[in-house]
Symmetry: D3
Subunit: 246 residues, 6 copies
């Protein structure tokens, strides 16, 4: 069965990504990221201390928090249910991913808080969190560089993320909510600009997947991530050069 | 001492109010309200049941919830501190205000949830919650009317709100955050389109205020609320007529 | 429709107020305040430290907590429901009011805890909290003065509070629970001995109120507060003189 | 070393017990019990349902809750610390004790809530909870009898309670707080009017006790409990006869 | 009515006790204790600090925590219900008991955490907690002695515990779950090796007990505890000598 | 740098797996699974109702809970910290995996609770949860089959799981805690008996990994999982045949 995607998207096409940098007045770095109808506010702030177990090591830390506003989803979520297991899983994934491209030894004994607040959830919110979180983090690190608080390159690479899935036997890139609901596999992939993996999270819902399908899905994800990173390069070109050591 | 306001606002001038209706994809009614740099997403959803103490009375209920995203304020608020006493006080005030202009006997045995999620807090967020909450509620009620679920007018009047305060002896309309920090009095007023009071909340921080000052502040508030209601009238003209019984 | 009040109270008459000073053995200041059948234990304790944001400013802080025992109300309140939004709203109001007549710069880097525990709730508990909290605070401050820990006057004025309301079109002073249940407006007013406002909280339940009604209600409240302050003067005459700088 | 007790109490003398029946306006049964300077408000309410595991058995249930107001103790207890392990231990003990003298099969499918709120804690609060809880429960059951909801005797016996302890080698009856702090053994005993045990809770703090000491302590407790039950008999003589089947 | 016990146990016979010392890899002291089908993992760890109120006194502290895994009981317990009043009561009892035989002045400013995690609950879990907690504590203290951190004897005596009860009028030693469910009295006794009491907790469920019954139960408990201590002596003979000062 | 593994394990060798079936007295299915020094108790219970969103669909549900006892880890975990983001992530992974091989339409409107309680954590606890959870689930389902409550095959396949990682550039199968601490990649893989994927979770800690490394790791995981499934086949041979439809 062939899949007809909204807006006539091809199976290997990502939704339009729109990033509004410098979205918030107070955060040290921030953006609004829109992937199709998914909208997430990403904001980065830092404080000059680190968790107990990092004290006096000279290393910094990056941690992410993820939340939804109650009216972001099809059925309103009561505030008491927002912080669920799913929330914890997602915010841990975003934090790990961002730490994967930052040289924690070089950012000073600081903790960076990456807040991902979902305004509208139409699939791919964790992906939006990684990408938007990266953009906001770069903005924040760049400010630290400008004010002389960071004096050496601290980024190892770009980071990109995308979801792929299998719907009625078809592989699809960048699933929206309606596709995600039907998917028998949901695979989230995070890669560096250099094409290496940072995180792979794949789950079969009901139907296990073969090695061949995994291979196809990984290839499709790579294609999508390349596109994502092109967008990041365009949008961050003024802030990121020094941070990458270029 | 005279007060120089940002953007050369006069003492009796409100900030620009921008309301984006139909802001969210899933909520039954929603808007983004911007009052100067304050930004609040207001969303209304309902369910076909009422709190225990209203069961089988035929009456409906309206309740509001208010929250901030962590990066909405000058200093990031940890998520664990967001739900504070202040939060409870504000959401109770928004809920009471909206109930004040709705005929609860006519909206059916339904609970309406009004979610006010603050994206950026630059003073007047509770005011934004009342105005934006009203706009989103009208949008939602209008949909119920269109689908035939509401057959009679259910609104008693428009509702407007504004803050006034005393800064270095000057009365000021619609305080932003920097003014609010300096204010010795902070008075929030909610009125109907007909010029009657729904809610008055005034607090002296350190310096009590005289009857004369109260009178001046109330007059100034009335002036601001009239302006607010004009804006609402313009923006809601297509949806609100039937609901008001006009 | 005329209102027949319990005990043949006139519309502008407050209930009998009975204050038992020095009610508790351990608290630094305490009283039992009875307003009609409303009974609240108010207790003040202090510690020699202040909240983080006041550290090293030389200023002190006053904070109030309000709670009910489960059997204080018509329907028993489960302990898990006692700390509600209403509770937060009330304790914030009591704290703000008391801070309004104390010179925080002169009380030393101390935090004063004002505990208002409601034993019986027959309307006006927050009013009782302000009045009883003031009496207990004066008792505590006086002990500090006697032991030489406070050497200058620290009080700016007396503080009084009362509720007024509109029941079936009649303005009423000091509503008891049965009147409060019927009131279309409930207005709580806090004033200084000098006749200036510290706090005004007015809410229309269902029927908005006019400017004229507001004026009448404020006048009635002022009358009640004068009476309250007379009672305080009588009861505190031995302890308060030095603290007020008289 | 001989112990000099406050008010020249003999080692085998209980403090004065003062019980104000019908202390609260709303509770179905209530009293203020004062044992020396210990003051506890006991209140009983009921609802016409039982815990899940008793449904449709025809049996009723009695459960107790115990709490302190923050200013009841020498050092103010923060509200967040009030519900501790100690609290749970005490309220379970009070509930079990009261169930021990009530015929749960005869009180109908009702849950009785016994609230013990400590106003002032000077030793023996759990003892006060048992005695005051019993008085309030009798008052409540008597009202049920009067209104015809209870038609048969439901009480098996009186219940009395007291603490005994060992201070510097001396056995003491009914310890106040200062004695309790010094006690190497603290034994709480609950007995029926007929002289049988309902509950024994004895703990050595640092120094274990011998069989002989246990025997002496139990005898002393019995003496105290007899006195307690005399007081109850006097105070309950009008309400309790029918309930006991006399 | 005579009681037929599982495995033909006599009324005065304890179940088989099996203790696997050094059960866990990481804890400083640990054992698995099996009393019949009851299985509890006891583990002791310590840290070099004490609760606030013991700071700079030179004294140490011992505290116990008790929990069940959800599948340890007949009906699975939801995780959210595990930490109940009963849990608090039990862990306080275990902590007090162990403190009763340790010289807190001699263990240094350390807090010892005794974790009792119930794997299978077939009656007597608190008893198992005391015995197993003692074995694990001795193991831990012995390691401290070996590494020179404890240089003097710190134990005052052995500690033993057992439950006794009255089932259909028969006194029984060491009740299993099925017997406990039927018992009209449940008495837990903790004694030292020297035959003195540390803790007595007796509760009548529905039927009060006489002095004579109490005496019989206490004698039976003593018999059981002697047996328990023999088992401890055998199992701890290599580690405990120095700690006891022998 | 070559890795010297404990017990001279080869890089592609799993630790010894020991499964004690029927480990608990009360659970409907249970086992103790030991993978090297990692020990997890897995227990399955069910109830005859499903979550709200599955009601009246005829489908059943499987959900997992994962917890550690405080003394299971190198540093004791305070009970208040046990339920963390990591816990949620793991229990969601176990639940999803087990649902992947069960035909939820055929198990009736029942919820199966799979409790994984970690007694000792030496790496691979989530893997142990999947394997042990599967064994306990089969035991439980087999009992349902025996009692006639399940009449058709409900299992789609075996399920196996293993972790692989990269330590100092070497790929390693089945990491223990000390290896896991050094690993730059940690990949958990869940597969069916038929060699298809159910779940892949791979995370780079600091160093991203190449496609080639991913391929090698996936092959190594497959090898390990085959071994795991052989062990399951041996252990479950009597119970699983009917459930698989063989």
């Amino acid at each position: 069965m062939e899949i007809r995607r909204k807006g006539n998207r091809r199976y290997d096409e990502i939704r339009e990504i729109k990033i509004t940098k410098n979205f918030l007045k107070y955060a040290k770095g921030s953006c609004l990221i829109e992937i199709g109808e998914t909208k997430v506010i990403c904001a980065v702030n830092y404080e000059d201390k680190v968790p107990q177990w990092l004290k006096d090591t000279g290393n910094g830390w990056i941690t992410a928090e993820y939340s939804l506003i109650p009216s972001s989803t099809i059925e309103r979520i009561p505030r008491s249910s927002i912080s669920s297991g799913r929330t914890h899983e997602i915010q841990r994934m975003i934090g790990r991913s961002l730490r994967g491209v930052v040289d924690l030894k070089r950012i000073g004994e600081r903790t960076f808080w990456v807040d991902c607040d979902v305004i509208q959830a139409d699939g791919g919110t964790r992906i939006a969190g990684v990408i938007g979180g990266f953009v906001a983090l770069v903005e924040c690190l760049n400010k630290l560089k400008i004010s002389g608080l960071i004096k050496v390159p601290v980024l190892k690479d770009y980071i990109g993320a995308i979801s792929v899935g299998l719907v009625h036997g078809n592989i699809l890139l960048d699933l929206d909510y309606s596709e995600d609901s039907l998917a028998s596999i949901d695979l989230n992939v995070v890669m560096t600009g250099g094409g290496e993996y940072i995180e792979i999270q794949g789950t079969a819902e009901g139907y296990p997947f073969t090695k061949k399908q995994l291979e196809e899905l990984l290839n499709l994800a790579e294609k999508g991530i390349k596109k994502v990173i092109e967008i990041e390069k365009e949008i961050l070109k003024d802030e990121i050069m020094f941070l990458l050591g270029n």
